[in-house]
Symmetry: C2
Subunit: 188 residues, 2 copies
DNA sequence: AGCAGGGTATACAGATTAGTATAATAAGGG
DNA sequence: CCCTTATTATACTAATCTGTATACCCTGCT
Protein backbone atom coordinates (compact mmCIF):
# COMPACT_ATOMS: atom_id res chain seq x y z
CA UNK A 1 0.00 0.00 0.00
CA UNK A 2 1.03 3.61 -0.25
CA UNK A 3 3.48 4.64 2.47
CA UNK A 4 1.37 7.61 3.54
CA UNK A 5 -1.65 5.44 4.19
CA UNK A 6 0.52 3.08 6.23
CA UNK A 7 1.98 5.93 8.23
CA UNK A 8 -1.46 7.24 9.12
CA UNK A 9 -2.50 3.77 10.25
CA UNK A 10 0.58 3.32 12.42
CA UNK A 11 0.37 6.80 13.89
CA UNK A 12 -3.31 6.42 14.69
CA UNK A 13 -2.67 3.05 16.26
CA UNK A 14 0.01 4.47 18.51
CA UNK A 15 -2.06 7.48 19.53
CA UNK A 16 -5.18 5.41 20.18
CA UNK A 17 -3.21 3.15 22.47
CA UNK A 18 -1.49 5.88 24.43
CA UNK A 19 -4.18 8.58 24.53
CA UNK A 20 -7.36 6.63 24.01
CA UNK A 21 -9.49 6.48 20.89
CA UNK A 22 -12.14 9.06 21.69
CA UNK A 23 -9.58 11.41 23.12
CA UNK A 24 -7.51 11.39 19.97
CA UNK A 25 -8.68 13.87 17.39
CA UNK A 26 -8.17 13.57 13.66
CA UNK A 27 -6.15 16.77 13.72
CA UNK A 28 -3.70 15.25 16.18
CA UNK A 29 -3.28 12.16 14.04
CA UNK A 30 -2.46 14.06 10.88
CA UNK A 31 -0.16 16.46 12.73
CA UNK A 32 1.88 13.61 14.20
CA UNK A 33 1.83 11.65 10.96
CA UNK A 34 3.07 14.75 9.18
CA UNK A 35 0.23 15.04 6.71
CA UNK A 36 -3.13 16.76 6.40
CA UNK A 37 -6.74 15.92 6.98
CA UNK A 38 -7.44 15.91 3.28
CA UNK A 39 -5.22 12.93 2.66
CA UNK A 40 -6.49 11.11 5.70
CA UNK A 41 -10.05 11.42 4.49
CA UNK A 42 -8.94 10.37 1.06
CA UNK A 43 -7.76 7.00 2.38
CA UNK A 44 -10.29 6.57 5.17
CA UNK A 45 -13.77 7.82 4.57
CA UNK A 46 -14.42 8.52 8.25
CA UNK A 47 -12.76 8.33 11.62
CA UNK A 48 -14.80 5.24 12.40
CA UNK A 49 -13.45 3.49 9.32
CA UNK A 50 -9.96 4.41 10.45
CA UNK A 51 -10.61 3.01 13.91
CA UNK A 52 -11.92 -0.22 12.45
CA UNK A 53 -8.90 -0.60 10.23
CA UNK A 54 -6.48 0.13 13.06
CA UNK A 55 -8.18 -2.52 15.16
CA UNK A 56 -8.13 -4.96 12.31
CA UNK A 57 -4.45 -4.48 11.60
CA UNK A 58 -3.52 -4.71 15.27
CA UNK A 59 -5.36 -7.95 15.71
CA UNK A 60 -3.98 -9.45 12.54
CA UNK A 61 -0.44 -8.51 13.52
CA UNK A 62 -0.84 -10.15 16.89
CA UNK A 63 -2.47 -13.29 15.56
CA UNK A 64 0.03 -13.90 12.79
CA UNK A 65 2.98 -13.14 15.07
CA UNK A 66 1.65 -15.57 17.66
CA UNK A 67 0.87 -18.43 15.32
CA UNK A 68 4.20 -18.02 13.54
CA UNK A 69 6.00 -18.18 16.85
CA UNK A 70 4.06 -21.28 17.86
CA UNK A 71 4.48 -23.05 14.55
CA UNK A 72 8.19 -22.43 14.27
CA UNK A 73 9.09 -23.29 17.86
CA UNK A 74 6.92 -26.26 18.66
CA UNK A 75 5.60 -29.33 16.93
CA UNK A 76 3.54 -31.35 19.39
CA UNK A 77 0.05 -29.90 19.87
CA UNK A 78 0.25 -30.15 23.65
CA UNK A 79 3.54 -28.29 23.54
CA UNK A 80 1.88 -25.42 21.68
CA UNK A 81 -0.58 -24.98 24.48
CA UNK A 82 2.15 -24.94 27.04
CA UNK A 83 4.28 -22.46 25.14
CA UNK A 84 1.31 -20.22 24.42
CA UNK A 85 1.68 -17.99 27.44
CA UNK A 86 5.43 -17.90 27.02
CA UNK A 87 4.99 -16.05 23.75
CA UNK A 88 2.05 -14.01 24.93
CA UNK A 89 4.22 -12.75 27.75
CA UNK A 90 6.86 -11.78 25.24
CA UNK A 91 4.28 -9.78 23.34
CA UNK A 92 2.62 -8.14 26.30
CA UNK A 93 5.77 -7.13 28.13
CA UNK A 94 7.40 -5.64 25.06
CA UNK A 95 8.18 -1.97 25.71
CA UNK A 96 5.75 -0.61 23.15
CA UNK A 97 2.79 -2.61 24.36
CA UNK A 98 -0.02 -0.43 25.60
CA UNK A 99 -2.93 -2.79 25.95
CA UNK A 100 -4.82 -5.12 23.65
CA UNK A 101 -6.74 -3.07 21.15
CA UNK A 102 -9.99 -4.94 21.27
CA UNK A 103 -10.20 -4.82 25.04
CA UNK A 104 -9.84 -1.08 25.20
CA UNK A 105 -12.03 -0.48 22.18
CA UNK A 106 -14.90 -2.42 23.67
CA UNK A 107 -14.60 -0.30 26.79
CA UNK A 108 -14.63 2.93 24.84
CA UNK A 109 -17.54 1.81 22.69
CA UNK A 110 -19.79 -0.08 25.08
CA UNK A 111 -22.94 0.09 23.02
CA UNK A 112 -23.48 -3.24 21.28
CA UNK A 113 -24.78 -1.49 18.18
CA UNK A 114 -21.47 0.25 17.64
CA UNK A 115 -19.48 -1.29 14.76
CA UNK A 116 -16.31 -0.79 16.80
CA UNK A 117 -17.76 -2.75 19.68
CA UNK A 118 -18.91 -5.47 17.34
CA UNK A 119 -15.48 -5.83 15.79
CA UNK A 120 -13.83 -5.95 19.21
CA UNK A 121 -16.20 -8.63 20.35
CA UNK A 122 -15.55 -10.61 17.19
CA UNK A 123 -11.78 -10.37 17.67
CA UNK A 124 -12.06 -11.59 21.23
CA UNK A 125 -14.13 -14.50 19.97
CA UNK A 126 -11.57 -15.28 17.26
CA UNK A 127 -8.71 -15.37 19.70
CA UNK A 128 -10.64 -17.71 21.97
CA UNK A 129 -11.44 -19.82 18.94
CA UNK A 130 -7.75 -20.07 18.14
CA UNK A 131 -6.91 -21.34 21.61
CA UNK A 132 -9.82 -23.72 21.25
CA UNK A 133 -8.30 -25.20 18.10
CA UNK A 134 -4.99 -25.68 19.92
CA UNK A 135 -6.78 -27.44 22.76
CA UNK A 136 -8.66 -29.66 20.33
CA UNK A 137 -5.43 -30.72 18.61
CA UNK A 138 -4.05 -31.60 22.02
CA UNK A 139 -7.03 -33.92 22.56
CA UNK A 140 -8.39 -32.02 25.48
CA UNK A 141 -11.83 -33.04 26.56
CA UNK A 142 -13.44 -29.72 27.41
CA UNK A 143 -11.45 -27.73 24.89
CA UNK A 144 -13.96 -24.94 24.82
CA UNK A 145 -13.86 -24.54 28.58
CA UNK A 146 -10.09 -24.46 28.73
CA UNK A 147 -9.96 -22.00 25.85
CA UNK A 148 -12.31 -19.70 27.68
CA UNK A 149 -10.33 -19.95 30.90
CA UNK A 150 -7.04 -19.23 29.19
CA UNK A 151 -8.48 -16.30 27.30
CA UNK A 152 -9.83 -14.89 30.56
CA UNK A 153 -6.39 -15.14 32.09
CA UNK A 154 -4.89 -13.52 29.06
CA UNK A 155 -7.35 -10.64 28.91
CA UNK A 156 -7.05 -10.07 32.62
CA UNK A 157 -3.26 -10.03 32.46
CA UNK A 158 -3.21 -7.75 29.43
CA UNK A 159 -5.57 -5.46 31.28
CA UNK A 160 -3.39 -5.49 34.38
CA UNK A 161 -0.22 -4.92 32.43
CA UNK A 162 -1.80 -1.98 30.66
CA UNK A 163 -3.09 -0.56 33.93
CA UNK A 164 0.30 -0.78 35.55
CA UNK A 165 3.40 -1.58 33.54
CA UNK A 166 5.81 -4.06 35.04
CA UNK A 167 3.18 -5.43 37.37
CA UNK A 168 4.45 -8.93 36.76
CA UNK A 169 0.91 -10.03 36.08
CA UNK A 170 1.97 -12.14 33.14
CA UNK A 171 4.38 -14.15 35.24
CA UNK A 172 1.57 -15.35 37.46
CA UNK A 173 -0.86 -15.71 34.61
CA UNK A 174 1.66 -18.09 33.06
CA UNK A 175 1.81 -20.17 36.22
CA UNK A 176 -1.97 -20.28 36.44
CA UNK A 177 -2.20 -21.28 32.80
CA UNK A 178 0.25 -24.11 33.35
CA UNK A 179 -1.84 -25.47 36.20
CA UNK A 180 -5.03 -25.31 34.17
CA UNK A 181 -3.44 -26.85 31.08
CA UNK A 182 -1.73 -29.66 32.98
CA UNK A 183 -5.00 -30.44 34.72
CA UNK A 184 -6.90 -30.54 31.45
CA UNK A 185 -4.23 -32.69 29.79
CA UNK A 186 -4.25 -35.18 32.65
CA UNK A 187 -8.00 -35.43 32.49
CA UNK A 188 -7.75 -36.38 28.83
CA UNK B 1 -26.91 13.38 51.36
CA UNK B 2 -29.35 15.43 49.41
CA UNK B 3 -31.53 13.35 47.11
CA UNK B 4 -30.69 15.43 44.04
CA UNK B 5 -27.00 14.89 44.49
CA UNK B 6 -27.61 11.18 44.87
CA UNK B 7 -29.77 11.09 41.76
CA UNK B 8 -27.09 12.78 39.69
CA UNK B 9 -24.53 10.26 40.91
CA UNK B 10 -26.75 7.29 40.10
CA UNK B 11 -27.75 8.66 36.72
CA UNK B 12 -24.17 9.43 35.77
CA UNK B 13 -23.08 5.99 36.89
CA UNK B 14 -25.70 4.33 34.73
CA UNK B 15 -24.93 6.45 31.68
CA UNK B 16 -21.18 6.01 32.04
CA UNK B 17 -21.62 2.26 32.12
CA UNK B 18 -23.96 2.03 29.18
CA UNK B 19 -22.68 4.79 26.90
CA UNK B 20 -19.11 5.21 28.05
CA UNK B 21 -17.65 8.03 30.10
CA UNK B 22 -16.22 10.25 27.39
CA UNK B 23 -19.28 9.76 25.21
CA UNK B 24 -21.63 10.94 27.93
CA UNK B 25 -22.04 14.70 28.04
CA UNK B 26 -22.96 16.69 31.09
CA UNK B 27 -26.10 17.86 29.32
CA UNK B 28 -27.25 14.29 28.87
CA UNK B 29 -26.69 13.51 32.53
CA UNK B 30 -28.73 16.42 33.79
CA UNK B 31 -31.47 15.82 31.23
CA UNK B 32 -31.88 12.19 32.30
CA UNK B 33 -31.57 13.05 35.97
CA UNK B 34 -34.25 15.67 35.52
CA UNK B 35 -32.24 18.63 36.70
CA UNK B 36 -29.98 21.34 35.28
CA UNK B 37 -26.33 21.91 34.80
CA UNK B 38 -26.29 24.60 37.46
CA UNK B 39 -27.16 22.17 40.22
CA UNK B 40 -24.76 19.56 38.92
CA UNK B 41 -21.90 22.02 39.04
CA UNK B 42 -23.03 23.10 42.48
CA UNK B 43 -22.48 19.60 43.83
CA UNK B 44 -19.57 18.58 41.62
CA UNK B 45 -17.07 21.20 40.71
CA UNK B 46 -16.17 19.56 37.40
CA UNK B 47 -17.01 16.57 35.27
CA UNK B 48 -13.79 14.94 36.37
CA UNK B 49 -14.78 15.25 40.01
CA UNK B 50 -18.09 13.66 39.14
CA UNK B 51 -16.37 10.80 37.37
CA UNK B 52 -14.08 10.22 40.33
CA UNK B 53 -16.99 10.15 42.73
CA UNK B 54 -18.97 7.79 40.54
CA UNK B 55 -16.00 5.46 40.41
CA UNK B 56 -15.50 5.71 44.13
CA UNK B 57 -19.10 4.94 44.95
CA UNK B 58 -19.21 2.03 42.53
CA UNK B 59 -16.14 0.45 44.00
CA UNK B 60 -17.27 0.97 47.55
CA UNK B 61 -20.66 -0.55 46.81
CA UNK B 62 -19.03 -3.60 45.30
CA UNK B 63 -16.48 -4.05 48.05
CA UNK B 64 -18.92 -3.72 50.94
CA UNK B 65 -21.47 -5.93 49.23
CA UNK B 66 -18.84 -8.59 48.66
CA UNK B 67 -17.32 -8.56 52.12
CA UNK B 68 -20.76 -8.56 53.73
CA UNK B 69 -21.75 -11.57 51.67
CA UNK B 70 -18.55 -13.36 52.62
CA UNK B 71 -18.71 -12.53 56.30
CA UNK B 72 -22.34 -13.52 56.72
CA UNK B 73 -22.16 -16.76 54.75
CA UNK B 74 -18.85 -18.24 55.73
CA UNK B 75 -16.67 -18.50 58.79
CA UNK B 76 -13.58 -20.52 57.95
CA UNK B 77 -10.99 -18.46 56.03
CA UNK B 78 -10.45 -21.13 53.41
CA UNK B 79 -14.16 -21.25 52.86
CA UNK B 80 -14.21 -17.55 52.10
CA UNK B 81 -11.72 -18.03 49.33
CA UNK B 82 -13.75 -20.83 47.86
CA UNK B 83 -17.01 -18.92 48.01
CA UNK B 84 -15.45 -15.78 46.60
CA UNK B 85 -16.20 -16.45 42.95
CA UNK B 86 -19.65 -17.71 43.84
CA UNK B 87 -20.60 -14.24 44.99
CA UNK B 88 -18.63 -12.48 42.32
CA UNK B 89 -20.63 -14.42 39.76
CA UNK B 90 -23.81 -13.29 41.43
CA UNK B 91 -22.69 -9.69 41.11
CA UNK B 92 -21.39 -9.88 37.59
CA UNK B 93 -24.34 -11.76 36.08
CA UNK B 94 -26.92 -9.49 37.67
CA UNK B 95 -29.05 -7.91 34.93
CA UNK B 96 -27.87 -4.37 35.56
CA UNK B 97 -24.20 -5.18 35.48
CA UNK B 98 -22.39 -3.39 32.67
CA UNK B 99 -18.77 -3.91 33.47
CA UNK B 100 -16.50 -3.11 36.37
CA UNK B 101 -16.07 0.62 36.57
CA UNK B 102 -12.36 0.74 37.17
CA UNK B 103 -11.58 -1.55 34.25
CA UNK B 104 -13.46 0.55 31.76
CA UNK B 105 -12.26 3.81 33.24
CA UNK B 106 -8.63 2.82 32.92
CA UNK B 107 -9.26 2.02 29.27
CA UNK B 108 -10.92 5.36 28.61
CA UNK B 109 -8.20 7.26 30.47
CA UNK B 110 -4.99 5.45 29.52
CA UNK B 111 -2.61 8.22 30.44
CA UNK B 112 -1.02 7.46 33.78
CA UNK B 113 -1.11 11.12 34.75
CA UNK B 114 -4.89 11.17 34.58
CA UNK B 115 -6.50 11.22 38.05
CA UNK B 116 -9.19 8.91 36.73
CA UNK B 117 -6.60 6.40 35.61
CA UNK B 118 -4.82 6.66 38.92
CA UNK B 119 -7.98 6.00 40.89
CA UNK B 120 -8.84 3.02 38.69
CA UNK B 121 -5.40 1.58 39.19
CA UNK B 122 -5.69 2.10 42.92
CA UNK B 123 -9.05 0.35 43.05
CA UNK B 124 -7.71 -2.61 41.15
CA UNK B 125 -4.86 -2.77 43.63
CA UNK B 126 -7.25 -2.57 46.57
CA UNK B 127 -9.34 -5.42 45.29
CA UNK B 128 -6.25 -7.57 44.81
CA UNK B 129 -5.16 -6.60 48.29
CA UNK B 130 -8.48 -7.78 49.66
CA UNK B 131 -8.11 -11.20 48.07
CA UNK B 132 -4.56 -11.24 49.38
CA UNK B 133 -5.84 -10.79 52.93
CA UNK B 134 -8.27 -13.66 52.44
CA UNK B 135 -5.46 -15.86 51.19
CA UNK B 136 -3.26 -14.91 54.11
CA UNK B 137 -5.98 -15.83 56.61
CA UNK B 138 -6.27 -19.18 54.89
CA UNK B 139 -2.55 -19.74 55.48
CA UNK B 140 -1.63 -19.86 51.85
CA UNK B 141 2.06 -19.74 51.14
CA UNK B 142 2.23 -17.51 48.09
CA UNK B 143 -0.80 -15.46 49.01
CA UNK B 144 0.23 -12.57 46.82
CA UNK B 145 0.61 -14.78 43.79
CA UNK B 146 -2.75 -16.44 44.25
CA UNK B 147 -4.40 -13.07 44.81
CA UNK B 148 -2.96 -11.80 41.57
CA UNK B 149 -4.09 -14.87 39.66
CA UNK B 150 -7.60 -14.70 41.03
CA UNK B 151 -7.87 -11.01 40.29
CA UNK B 152 -6.73 -11.65 36.74
CA UNK B 153 -9.42 -14.25 36.33
CA UNK B 154 -11.97 -11.90 37.79
CA UNK B 155 -11.01 -8.95 35.62
CA UNK B 156 -10.91 -11.11 32.53
CA UNK B 157 -14.31 -12.56 33.26
CA UNK B 158 -15.83 -9.18 34.05
CA UNK B 159 -14.37 -7.92 30.79
CA UNK B 160 -15.78 -10.86 28.85
CA UNK B 161 -19.18 -10.58 30.45
CA UNK B 162 -19.31 -6.91 29.61
CA UNK B 163 -18.22 -7.57 26.06
CA UNK B 164 -20.89 -10.19 25.53
CA UNK B 165 -23.63 -10.71 28.07
CA UNK B 166 -24.50 -14.28 28.95
CA UNK B 167 -21.18 -15.53 27.69
CA UNK B 168 -20.92 -17.91 30.62
CA UNK B 169 -17.42 -16.68 31.24
CA UNK B 170 -17.96 -16.55 34.98
CA UNK B 171 -18.91 -20.21 35.12
CA UNK B 172 -15.52 -21.23 33.79
CA UNK B 173 -13.69 -18.57 35.73
CA UNK B 174 -15.20 -20.15 38.84
CA UNK B 175 -13.91 -23.58 37.87
CA UNK B 176 -10.46 -22.22 37.16
CA UNK B 177 -10.45 -20.38 40.48
CA UNK B 178 -11.34 -23.56 42.30
CA UNK B 179 -8.43 -25.39 40.72
CA UNK B 180 -5.99 -22.63 41.60
CA UNK B 181 -7.29 -22.28 45.16
CA UNK B 182 -7.29 -26.01 45.85
CA UNK B 183 -3.77 -26.27 44.52
CA UNK B 184 -2.58 -23.41 46.69
CA UNK B 185 -4.32 -24.82 49.77
CA UNK B 186 -2.78 -28.25 49.24
CA UNK B 187 0.63 -26.72 48.90
CA UNK B 188 0.21 -25.13 52.29
C1' DA C 1 6.82 22.75 -22.30
C1' DG C 2 2.80 21.33 -20.37
C1' DC C 3 -0.43 18.39 -18.29
C1' DA C 4 -2.15 15.29 -14.51
C1' DG C 5 -2.29 13.39 -9.91
C1' DG C 6 -1.03 13.31 -5.26
C1' DG C 7 -0.26 16.07 -1.60
C1' DT C 8 -0.36 20.52 1.08
C1' DA C 9 -2.22 24.60 3.32
C1' DT C 10 -5.84 26.85 5.12
C1' DA C 11 -10.05 28.29 6.03
C1' DC C 12 -14.50 27.03 6.98
C1' DA C 13 -19.20 24.84 8.41
C1' DG C 14 -21.87 22.70 11.76
C1' DA C 15 -22.26 20.17 15.68
C1' DT C 16 -20.98 19.28 20.44
C1' DT C 17 -18.41 19.99 24.43
C1' DA C 18 -17.44 21.87 29.52
C1' DG C 19 -18.41 25.42 32.22
C1' DT C 20 -20.51 30.18 33.59
C1' DA C 21 -23.63 34.28 34.10
C1' DT C 22 -28.09 35.99 34.95
C1' DA C 23 -32.77 36.12 35.97
C1' DA C 24 -36.89 33.85 37.23
C1' DT C 25 -39.33 30.54 40.25
C1' DA C 26 -40.68 27.68 44.16
C1' DA C 27 -40.96 26.63 48.92
C1' DG C 28 -40.39 27.03 53.83
C1' DG C 29 -39.75 29.64 58.23
C1' DG C 30 -39.80 33.87 61.06
C1' DC D 1 -45.55 38.99 54.32
C1' DC D 2 -40.88 38.89 53.66
C1' DC D 3 -36.47 36.79 53.57
C1' DT D 4 -33.58 32.99 52.53
C1' DT D 5 -32.23 29.05 50.20
C1' DA D 6 -32.53 25.70 46.58
C1' DT D 7 -33.54 24.92 41.99
C1' DT D 8 -34.76 26.06 37.28
C1' DA D 9 -34.54 28.15 32.75
C1' DT D 10 -31.97 30.03 29.33
C1' DA D 11 -28.57 32.10 27.07
C1' DC D 12 -23.89 32.44 26.41
C1' DT D 13 -18.56 31.71 25.85
C1' DA D 14 -14.79 29.46 24.22
C1' DA D 15 -12.86 25.41 22.90
C1' DT D 16 -12.94 21.22 20.25
C1' DC D 17 -14.62 17.94 17.17
C1' DT D 18 -15.54 15.69 12.39
C1' DG D 19 -15.76 16.51 7.83
C1' DT D 20 -15.49 19.56 3.52
C1' DA D 21 -14.29 23.17 0.10
C1' DT D 22 -10.86 25.80 -2.33
C1' DA D 23 -6.65 27.06 -3.98
C1' DC D 24 -1.95 26.05 -4.41
C1' DC D 25 2.35 23.28 -5.07
C1' DC D 26 5.36 19.85 -6.67
C1' DT D 27 6.89 16.00 -9.31
C1' DG D 28 6.98 12.78 -13.00
C1' DC D 29 5.63 11.77 -17.68
C1' DT D 30 5.24 12.48 -22.43
Amino acid sequence: MTPLREKILITASHLFQTQGINSTGVDTIVAVAGTTKMTLYKYFTSKEKLILEVLDKGHQDFQTWLSNKLNSNTKKPSEKLQKLFEFIEEWVTSPDFHGMGFIKASAEFPSEESPVHQLSSEQSRQFRQYINSLALEANIQDAEGLALQLSLLFEGAAQAEQMKRGSGAMKYAKKAAKILIDGALAQG
